[in-house]
Symmetry: C2
Subunit: 463 residues, 2 copies
């Protein structure tokens, strides 16, 4: 890494911290539709002050559940490369919304304080994703301050609904696909492990989220009538029990049909990804894994195994003590993680066929959300650039991960923009994102900002 980049970013740190505090202090909870337009405006102002030509884009209102719901705006930003207008374009995808702060009683200070203590900045969004966003903005600002120009074309898309499943990102990408056209996308997050090694992740799993609803009598009835009236909770349990084996295999016909084997490159990479089984088990208080997997199988599961998880289950009386009721409905929330080449809509149809074929055609299915998986190939030149940049900025060889086990709208970016997506960033794996006392580490914000600057420089060399 050039000395000038290092010194230049170091001199930006005071401003970076103060602007990150400003962002944290603006609550922006998408699940509660709280502070979203205010936060979008704030991001717009910070980007404009950094010299990024910005606008707040709005899709307006959205027809959902028979009522119109406001769609959170996105903030678009752009800096054209003056010295080389034909340079490649890099797109930064981030989000300004945050998770709810509950349970608020477990926070040591106000979740929106942005309090700095030594190397730590505390607050909801400090890492996820306001911290990551500010590293991208500050890297661009560094070039603009230094030269009045940027080494390649730069674009930003900052959305406000990532924490509720990026439900409208595909609409934004479609409507503004020419404006957003890019040659590479830096994804919104990036982890750093306990040994300060950056983890460069190249993919995300997909998701099919449904509700199963079993229906019994027309009203809740006294449970003495269970001799005659079938309880929909039993019906639901019988149906669920046909879906997944005790060792985690999904028993729906053709569920795995499109799932391909890992490539030799992927397998080689997976076998080298570090994973501390004992530490993981003791952190989560479990003594064995599903299907008793060990070693490489654990890492293969994280990267590429589909799941069927019960995210929620409810029927009848769940308060204290002994109410004797036979409920009129029972509901399960299922989230299926999907891997590459599995199509959520096709899997939904397979689930419906399964229930019907097993005699559970009376169990209703409500589709809640679907996203496809995505993976950027290991041999993509962009991957090597990001990897080399991270090695320079963090001073240590990064870990490359074939895919995260989580879900994000990466597939939509690849499908609509046709650009490879790579995730790299500043978030410690211990940063307690989504939990109380979320923090960002200032040393990692500094390194990630340098890493983004180096990526921008390397990207300018591409034609």
């Amino acid at each position: 890494m050039k000395e000038s980049v290092s010194a230049g970013v170091d001199s930006e740190m005071k401003g970076l911290i103060s602007e990150l505090q400003t962002l944290i202090r603006q609550p922006s909870i998408s699940a509660k539709k709280q502070g979203l337009t205010e936060c979008a405006d704030l991001v717009f102002q910070i980007m404009v002050r950094a010299g990024i030509k910005s606008e707040v884009l709005n899709l307006g209102r959205h027809e959902s559940n028979q009522k119109k719901e406001a769609i959170a705006p996105i903030v678009y930003g752009e800096v054209k490369c003056k010295m080389n207008p034909d340079a490649k374009t890099i797109l930064f995808y981030n989000h300004y919304d945050v998770q709810p702060v509950e349970p608020v009683e477990f926070w040591d200070s106000d979740p929106f304080s942005g309090k700095v203590e030594g190397n730590y900045i505390y607050g909801r969004g400090s890492s996820d994703d306001k911290g990551e966003l500010i590293t991208r903005i500050k890297a661009v600002e560094y070039f603009l301050k230094k030269t009045g120009d940027v080494p390649c074309n730069i674009k930003f898309i900052v959305e406000g609904e990532e924490e509720i499943g990026s439900v409208n990102i595909e609409k934004y990408l479609s409507k503004y696909r020419h404006k957003l056209a890019a040659d590479g996308v830096i994804w919104e997050f990036g982890y750093v492990d306990e040994k300060n090694k950056p983890i460069i992740s190249l993919g995300m799993k997909g998701l099919l989220y449904v509700e199963l609803i079993a229906t019994g009598p027309s009203q809740d009835v006294h449970s003495s009538l269970a001799v005659l009236i079938e309880n929909p909770a039993w019906r639901l349990i019988q149906a669920l029990n046909t879906i997944r084996s005790t060792n985690g295999k999904i028993l729906i016909k053709d569920w795995y049909k499109e799932v391909r084997e890992f490539t030799p490159d992927e397998l080689d990479n997976i076998s080298r990804e570090p994973f501390n089984e004992q530490e993981f088990k003791s952190h989560y208080g479990v003594d064995k894994f599903v299907n008793d997997v060990r070693g490489t199988e654990v890492r293969k599961a994280l990267v590429g195994m589909p799941t069927c998880n019960i995210a929620g289950l409810i029927a009848g009386y769940v308060g204290q003590g002994a109410k004797t009721v036979l409920p009129s409905t029972a509901l399960a929330k299922l989230d299926f993680r999907l891997v590459l080449d599995m199509d959520p809509k096709r899997q939904l149809q397979r689930l419906a066929n399964h229930l019907k074929n097993y005699g559970f055609g009376d169990v209703g299915i409500k589709f809640i959300h679907g996203e496809s998986a995505s993976r950027t190939p290991l041999n993509q030149p962009f991957v090597k650039q990001v990897k080399d940049s991270a090695a320079e900025a963090f001073g240590v060889e990064p870990i490359v991960s074939v895919s995260s086990s989580g879900t994000g709208p990466m597939h939509s970016f690849v499908k609509i923009l046709g650009a490879p997506c790579v995730s790299v960033g500043s978030t410690s794996i211990y940063a307690r994102i989504h939990s109380p006392n979320e923090f960002a580490r200032i040393d990692l914000l500094n390194k990630a900002t340098k890493c983004i600057a180096v990526i921008i420089e390397k990207f300018s060399k591409q034609r």
Copy 2:
């Protein structure tokens, strides 16, 4: 029925209605510990005004869940027969507590109004059980007003925890077993069918109420980790699925071991109990019954079939939309209805063995409540007396039912007091007990009061 009884009770009706209104207007919700001592005092005053020697008895506080909880008092009442101190003793068992009023928005007027409209008195407890209680008090008052004496010895036990499973009635019965000694018990409720036929019920089913708790990771985790961490909701579903077959049979070893066949008398009676299958199905919105039972099998199930019902089920996120969580625990509330000769503690042990033997020893069992079933034999002389009295008072042949499908502490009364229990009363099967807009019918209150008076007269003839 003697003309004097009929006219005498008719002349008490104005007072009966007004005192029932007073009782309804005093909320007494045991589930919320609301107004219980106040209502016990009110019952005490009404009984004293009727000429019944009364006292409020108190067990004090009760050790439960590591904290001391107040036990609701009982009201004891007694009238000795002066002309024949050696006469038999009849005991009236009733309760002054009521169900919660929720959902309150479905009530057409204040749940505690006691509003009278034509033949109806509205309010929580109007039928269950303040209406029944007042018929017993007024029948006794009729004799005292008329003769200054009663035809046989009379006792009352009015408890305040019936709606929460009569959790302390056995303690009261044991402590005061000499005081409460009786030769026959008139149970707290009694239904009247849609054709105004009284239903004389001779038994109650038992109950075993437990919670099953499956435990997973030490905290709720992100569901992307479902590839490795077992979800306790799956574990619970697998365990539950081993307990009951799809046709309602309980699959636990020896579950039915002590269950005896119906006697020929019982079978004969059951075959004559009226039951309108079509009306029942259309009322509850179901098109078939568990195990597709029909005809006599339906009535046998109501009277004598054990069940395993899921009264509650909860795990993970049950709000709107798509939260992707893997919960740390999953809970089911099971209520097993038991029949004659099944011991709740023994059945609990069988359930525990079952889970262990099927590899679910990690699924925790929390015992919540247990009661044994009870049945008064059809050929008990007391049954014939009650039946004849009901025929006289209601002017129609009553229906005799071998057992109710519900649960009550009848077994404790039989075990401790050794007296037969018979249920007869004023409650229309459409009286919406436990539901909004509960009512009592004034014509049925009148007939039930006459019926109790006739029972008292007939009982005096016994030696």
